[in-house]
Structures are given as structure tokens and as C-alpha cells.
């Protein structure tokens, strides 16, 4: 199973969501998609998008003292 990293640190709406969607299209079922970002709204909207697409969010964690976040998703 492959692992894919989506680095959208510094990017704003709607790029983090869009780049995640692109990664889900490229990834195969079972692959791990790791998204790194800084845009606050995307931290809650990416899990919302995953839920509506039936993808499992494995972990959401804050980094760099809350300035960055990382979301792990099982495609």
C-alpha cells in the first residue's frame, strides 16, 4: 500500500480541499494520504469532505505549536 503526501502549507481556500480531492483520485483504495496544511478552516473541512466520500480519517494532529496541522486519511 502506497503513502502519498499532500503539502498545502501556506495555501488558502479552496486549494487544500482541491489538492486532497486530486490526491484521492490518484491514490488507490487502501493507500494512505497524509495532508499537511496551515489553513484553519481546511482542518475541519477536509474531514467533512472525507466523511461525505466515505473515506476514513485516521488521525488529525496539530504541529508547530498549533500553526500547522496534519491529517491522515485511508483512501
Amino acid at each position: 500500500m502506497a503513502e502519498m503526501e499532500v503539502d498545502v502549507r501556506g495555501q488558502t481556500c479552496p486549494v487544500p480541499l482541491v489538492e486532497c480531492r486530486k490526491a484521492f483520485k490518484r491514490a488507490s483504495p487502501g493507500d494512505l494520504v497524509i495532508v499537511k496544511g496551515t489553513h484553519p478552516a481546511s482542518k475541519k473541512e477536509i474531514p467533512m469532505a472525507c466523511e461525505s466520500m466515505g473515506l476514513k480519517v485516521l488521525e488529525i494532529k496539530d504541529k508547530e505549536g498549533g500553526k500547522e496541522w496534519e491529517i491522515k486519511i485511508r483512501r
Binding site: G10, T12, C13, P14, V18, R21, A49, S52, M53
Partner: protein
């Protein structure tokens, strides 16, 4: 069929074109289908070299207000309309161009970025798209 968002873009104002493309990309990113129906002033933005050229809907001030907003957008890392359009197409978004507007404004297909356009249509095409849509907006 999955859920769908259908947007009519009547305005050619830069800020409103941003709204339409951001919402449409958001819908695609959240697993929906999305289409944008470009009509009237909105259709002008499909002309070659015109996507980024719209004025600001308010406080344009002969382009001075627009310039200021553009500066602030780039400082906030907002991407270009060209990038939003290319993402929209990459994620399977659909563009419909209004044929009546083309006739009224005297625009030929040669003047349009036809690589973006999936369908040339009229009101029937919009209704057909929108009747089973979950979200439809007029911008």
C-alpha cells in the same frame, strides 16, 4: 447519480467569478458533481485572455480598487482564476456556454477558450442540469 451543484454565472465581475469557481471547486472536492453555466457578462470571461480581466463588483474605482484587492489577494496566497479553472476541469467540472449570449454579443466560438467548454446550450440545458441538482446558485 451522485449529488450535484449547478451554478449560473451571469456576472463577469472578478470577485463574483472567484465566488463561482471557488464554490464549484469546493463541491467537486467534497465529492459532488459541479457545472457552471456561463451567461451574459459571465460569458465574457470565457473569451481568450479575459478570465482574469473582470472589474470589481463594488469600489472598482476605475481599476484602483481592483488593484488593491488583487494585491491583498496575492498577499493572502489566493490562487489565480486560471488555476481555479484548471483545477475545476481536472476534477471533472463541466462548463456550459450560453449560445444566446454569444449571438447577442456577436461572439464567435473562435474567440472562446473552447478547451474549457463541455457544452453549448440555452435555458433548457440549465434546467436539465439543475432539476436534479442539490445546490443551484445564480451569481
Amino acid at each position: 447519480m451522485g449529488e450535484k451543484a449547478v451554478i449560473i454565472l451571469h456576472s463577469g465581475d472578478m470577485d463574483k467569478v472567484y465566488s463561482a469557481l471557488i464554490i464549484a471547486n469546493g463541491a467537486l472536492a467534497m465529492g459532488m458533481e459541479a457545472s457552471i453555466y456561463f451567461t451574459f457578462w459571465g460569458l465574457m470571461r470565457l473569451k481568450k485572455g479575459e478570465l482574469e480581466k473582470g472589474p470589481l463588483s463594488k469600489m472598482n474605482m476605475m481599476g484602483a480598487g481592483r488593484y488593491m484587492v488583487k494585491q491583498r489577494m496575492s498577499k493572502a496566497h489566493v490562487v489565480s482564476l486560471e488555476k481555479l479553472m484548471s483545477d475545476f476541469k481536472e476534477l471533472g467540472g463541466k462548463i456550459i456556454a450560453c449560445e444566446m449570449t454569444m449571438e447577442i454579443m456577436g461572439i464567435s466560438k473562435e474567440e472562446i477558450r473552447t478547451e474549457w467548454v463541455d457544452e453549448w446550450g440555452a435555458v433548457g440545458t440549465y434546467i436539465h442540469e439543475a432539476r436534479d441538482a442539490n445546490i443551484t446558485l445564480f451569481i
